[in-house]
Homo-oligomer: 347 residues x 2
C-alpha cells in the first residue's frame, strides 16, 4: 500500500466512535504508514486497534498508548476528537469549561511533546473555542490549526441537491461561514445550482423565501437531526471530513470546504466587490469558518464576501464567537487577548 | 471520483453499525457510483444516508429504501449484514432459526427481484448457515455467494505478528479453515513468519506448544475479545473485509483470504501433497472457509491441505457444520439436501 508520508500521524480520542472511524479512514486514504492512536481509555483503544489489525492493512504500523508523552513524541500531524460529550445534568457552561480545559491541556502537551507538529485538526465542541484555546497554548502558527466546520456547508450542499432533485456535486461552493453552531451564517451568494446562481433562484417558485428560510434552519440543525434519526451523534461525516482536512495538510488533495481557522487583521472595506456588498468590519482573535484552503503549507483564508444580509449574519456570528471567547477568558481558562503573545509569539 | 462500475451495489442492513461502515468503505474504495442502502429501520437508514451525504463524496448516487423490491431491483452486487443480533433470553437455537429464516427470505427475494445478481457476500451469523440457506433459496450459482470467514485468518496473522514483534504483513498466508465459529480449524502449516515456516517454529522456545495452543484459542475467541474491550461487537473489520470481498467480485483487487464458500465434490486422496498429509475425505453440501480466491468470475476454492492434526481438525469442523445444517433442516427452515436441486438447479 502507498502512503503519502511516513511521518507520524496521531489520532487523539481514538477509542471513540469518531476516533476509530478516523483511524480506519486515514489508513484507507493512505495518509501515513505510521499511525499512533491515543486515548485515555485503554481497553476501548486496544479494541479499536484489534479491529484495525483484523482488517490486515498492509504496510501500516499502528501503535497505541494511553500515555500522552509517548503518543505525541515526534508527532507531525494530529487530529483530536478527544473532548468530553455533554452528559445529563451538565450545563452548557460546564461543557464549555470542561472541553476548553481539555483543549488547554492539549495545547500545552503539543508545546511540551511535539512542538514540531506541522498541523492539527480539532473537532471537539465547541470547536471554535477548543481550537482557539489549543492554538494559544500550543505555540503553533495560526496556519497550523484548523477546526472542523465544513459539515455545515456539505449539509447545505446536500439539502439544495435534494430540493432540486439533482446529483449532490451539481451544487457547487455551497458555503456557511462564521461559527460552527446555531449562530453560523448560511450563505446563498456563493452557491450555484447546476451552474445557476442560487441567489437567482431564491424567491422564485423553484425555491421560495419560506423554503430557503426553512432550509437554512435545517442546515443549522443538521447535527441534531442525525441524533434524532440514528439515536446517536454523527460520527461518520466528522471523521471522514476531518481526515480529508489533515490529508490536505499532509500533501494530499487540497481541502477547499471552509475550515475553522484563526482570523485576525482581516479588513473589509466599504465597497462593492464581485457584485456583493462588503461591509466595513474586522474579525479579530477568533476561530471561525472562512473561505479557506488547506494544503501542505497549512490553512489560508480570504475575506468573506456576501450580500448585506449575509454580512449582517456573519457579523452576528462573529459577535457570538467573541462573546463565547470572552466567557472562556472570564472563566479563567484562556488568558486575556492582550496576553496571548506571551503564550504564543505567533499570535 | 473513479468507480469500478456503475452497476448497482446493495448494502442490506445498512442502518446498523456494520452496514453503515460498509457503505462508507465501499464509497471510499470507489466500488460503484450506484449504491443503494436497504434496511427495514427507515429512520436509522435515513440517518446513515444523511451522514454519507455530509461527507460530500463526488460522483456517487446514494439511494435508500425500506422496500426490498425497490432495493433489490436491478441489483448486481450485494452485501448483507441484515440479521438479528442475539438478545437477552434468546437461546442459540432461537438465533439460529431466526437468522436462518431471514436468510431464507433473502434468498427468495434475490430469486424474485434480482435473479441476475452477480455476487452476494453474507455476513450475518452463523454465516456458514445463513450463506448456505441464502444459496439454496436464491437459485444463484455456488460461485456467486460467499460468507465472511477471513477475520479468523487475519486475527491469526495479527496474533503471530504481535508475538514475534514484527510488522503484521511479515506474517504471510496465516489461515483458518472450516467453520467460522468455535469449531474453526486453525492451521499452522500454511503460515510463514518473516519467510520461515510456522511449523518449524512451533515447539521451540520462540513459540512453545503451550503458547501456540493458547494463540489458537485467542484467535477462536477473537470476536468475544472485541466485545470485552469495546463493549460492543466488532464492526469495523467485518465491514472492511466484506467490502474487500465484494470489491474483488466487482473486478477490483483479488481477495485471497479464505472465503466461506459452498463446498461439494471436493475429493481428497490419501497421498502426500506439497509436504503435507492429505486425508481421504469429502466435504459436501456445506459452506465453509476454504483456500479460495474471489475475482470477477466469483469464488473459486481448492482442496484443503494440512498436517494429520490439521486434517482431523477440519474434519471435526466439517462435521460440526453438517450437524448445524441438519439441525436447520430438521427445524424446517431448509429442505433436505436431496431436495435442494428443486430449489436451485445450480446445486
Amino acid at each position: 500500500m502507498k502512503f503519502l508520508t511516513n511521518e507520524k500521524l496521531v489520532i487523539s480520542g481514538a477509542a471513540g466512535m469518531i476516533g476509530s472511524n478516523m483511524a480506519q479512514t486515514a489508513i484507507m486514504m493512505g495518509l501515513s504508514s505510521n499511525i499512533c492512536l491515543y486515548d485515555v481509555y485503554l481497553p476501548g483503544l486496544e479494541g479499536v486497534v484489534e479491529e484495525l489489525r483484523h482488517c490486515a492493512f498492509p504496510g501500516v504500523n499502528i501503535t497505541f498508548t494511553d500515555k500522552v508523552e509517548e503518543a505525541f513524541k515526534d508527532a507531525k500531524y494530529m487530529v483530536s476528537s478527544g473532548g468530553a460529550p455533554r452528559k445529563a445534568g451538565m450545563t452548557r457552561e460546564d461543557l464549555l469549561v470542561g472541553n476548553a480545559k481539555i483543549a488547554e491541556q492539549l495545547g500545552k502537551d503539543i508545546k511540551t511533546y511535539c512542538p514540531d507538529l506541522k498541523h492539527c485538526v480539532i473537532i471537539f465542541n465547541p470547536a471554535d473555542i477548543t481550537g482557539l484555546v489549543t492554538l494559544v497554548y500550543s505555540g503553533l502558527k495560526p496556519s497550523q490549526i484548523t477546526t472542523l466546520a465544513a459539515l455545515d456547508s456539505t449539509r447545505l450542499q446536500s439539502a439544495l441537491a435534494k430540493h432540486f432533485g439533482i446529483a449532490q456535486d451539481k451544487v457547487t461552493t455551497a458555503r456557511t461561514y462564521g461559527g460552527h453552531g446555531e449562530q453560523m451564517a448560511v450563505f446563498a451568494s456563493t452557491a450555484k445550482v447546476d451552474g445557476k446562481p442560487l441567489t437567482d433562484i431564491i424567491g422564485t417558485p423553484a425555491l421560495t423565501d419560506e423554503q430557503w428560510a426553512q432550509m437554512k434552519q435545517d442546515v443549522i440543525k443538521g447535527g441534531a437531526k442525525i441524533i434524532e434519526l440514528r439515536g446517536r451523534s454523527s460520527f461518520q461525516s466528522p471523521s471522514f471530513v476531518s481526515i480529508e482536512m489533515i490529508g490536505a495538510a499532509m500533501g494530499g488533495e487540497k481541502f477547499e470546504w471552509p475550515a475553522g481557522c484563526y482570523v485576525n487583521n482581516s479588513q473589509f472595506q466599504n465597497v462593492m466587490m464581485a457584485g456583493c456588498y462588503v461591509n466595513n468590519s474586522q474579525f479579530q482573535n477568533v476561530m471561525m469558518a472562512m473561505p479557506s484552503t488547506i494544503d501542505a503549507t497549512g490553512v489560508h483564508y480570504t475575506d468573506v464576501k456576501g450580500t448585506a444580509t449575509e454580512m449582517a449574519d456573519i457579523e452576528a456570528s462573529y459577535k457570538h464567537l467573541q462573546a463565547m471567547r470572552d466567557e472562556v477568558i472570564s472563566l479563567g481558562v484562556l488568558p486575556a487577548v492582550s496576553e496571548w503573545k506571551k503564550y504564543n509569539p505567533n499570535l
